[in-house]
Symmetry: C2
Subunit: 282 residues, 2 copies
């Protein structure tokens, strides 16, 4: 990684904004204290991806942690305020090769975020990738999305949309029948991908309803589940290259919709699949 | 529902095996006690779907429950023994229209199963189904899967496979490059679908690796996430009709694979999407 002067915020200009946002201090009883800096703010509270990454980081820092993340679910129930919070992570079941966790983010007597995770040691076994990466032009052939005027966290990513951008940004704005988005993404400034960065990136997709409808309505993720296929070695091979992100919605019903998506290495490796359910109004 | 004499087990022949398996007794501090009868046994411990449904049922029985299930994640960490267990469900965050839960199944001092759920009141809003049901022959045109010799829980379902059956059952057995399965399923004997039955059914898919490879290897779900789109009214409309279930694997890597799938009403309504990550050996 090349440190640049583009790092937007944080109290230490020599560190990447993502690393600053992931900082945690150890507390009592294997709890961790932290906060999300305004660099990763969303409309209401912080970007969901950074909260998910911070919960994952808490497990990674826990002295009993075993192996690498396989499955992470994070539920967003209440607003996380711009102040310090506690993260409690608890191993509920540890086997020879896998370990299950429950996670809670506590702030001012409330529990706005919860989650669960499975960690495991990967072992040699029959392997195959059944799903294939869509073919799209390389990131250098696509314009970098402008982040001026958007919510703060977006500026931490270099996003190059191939298809499926916001219906409101079309000229003229018009409803779409398909919400599939294909985009390249990497941290901005670029940073080698690791599990926490991958987890954060799995929430990169703006709500699918904004691809379908040319109107702005309140919307937000209420639960995200990411399955991580990448091993530590595979992530290291990605270095700071762009990942291809794809997502499409399934059903929008009375205030809740879900989408399913993938994060691919530029070499075609399926690094993670990710699913979420989102509330929306109107 | 027509009660029949086909109910296979349980201490009350007038009740459906699923209802018996979902029984819970209220205990102290909003905990619930129950067990899984041998009718729903799998190779190791009970069928994952019945455990997920039983956790969901505990929330439904909780006096503070609000609304209908939207998202349910269940993590399988350890073996659930053939004896009584406690289910603890705890509302972590309650808003005007939604409620988040953490769930633990405790047995003999261990926590073999955990999970989380989001419940909510659905409200009128723009709605659309973006994903469309695959076209397949009606269930009556397909043979009913024989359940003799299979693990016990399968006999509680009437399964009619259209495509993507076990590679081992092919003549001759041969490896496949695609793990997609399309099958019709309903409870056996038939029973009106409700949220718990839908949750149980979302784990109906045998491990995708058995579609791909004509060998038997140890395999089991470690985490399942189901997003429920169906409202109470939509489920009531399904009555005891067959649902179409579709799933396909994404990547199999060093002992863990994931699949994504859907459960559809015969009328084409997307009732639920479901995702899981599965461990396997060799």
């Amino acid at each position: 990684m090349h440190q640049t002067d583009k790092i937007a915020d944080g109290n230490d200009k020599s560190r990447h904004a993502l690393d600053i946002a992931l900082d945690l201090s150890p507390g009592k009883n294997n709890s961790f204290q932290g906060e999300i800096p305004p660099t990763y703010s969303n409309f209401v509270g912080p970007y969901g991806g950074i909260l998910a990454a911070k919960l994952l980081r808490a497990i990674q820092l826990h002295p009993e942690k075993l192996g690498e993340p396989i499955a992470v679910t994070v539920n967003y129930g209440g607003r996380v305020k711009s102040e310090a919070f506690d993260i409690l992570v608890r191993p509920t079941c540890t086997n020879r090769s896998s370990q299950h966790w429950l996670m809670e983010l506590q702030q001012a007597g409330e529990i706005p975020v919860t989650g669960s995770a499975v960690f495991a040691h990967r072992r040699n076994a029959w392997s195959d990738q059944e799903k294939h990466m869509p073919l799209v032009p390389s990131p250098n052939e696509l314009p970098c999305m402008k982040t001026e005027g958007l919510t703060a966290w977006v500026a931490n990513y270099d996003i190059r949309i191939h298809s499926g951008s916001l219906a409101l940004q079309m000229d003229p704005p018009q409803a779409q029948t398909d919400s599939e988005t294909l985009l390249w993404v990497r941290d901005h400034p670029s940073r080698p991908i690791d599990f926490a960065a991958l987890m954060a990136m799995s929430d990169i997709f703006f709500p699918r309803i904004f691809v379908r409808r040319p109107v702005f309505v309140p919307a937000g993720t209420i639960s995200i589940t990411t399955y991580i296929h990448a091993s530590q070695e595979e992530l290291a091979q990605q270095a700071d290259n762009y990942l291809l992100a794809r997502a499409s919605g399934n059903r929008y019903h009375k205030g809740y919709f879900d989408h399913s998506g993938e994060l691919w290495g530029a070499d075609g490796t399926l690094l993670a699949t990710t699913h979420q359910v989102v509330y929306y109004k109107e």
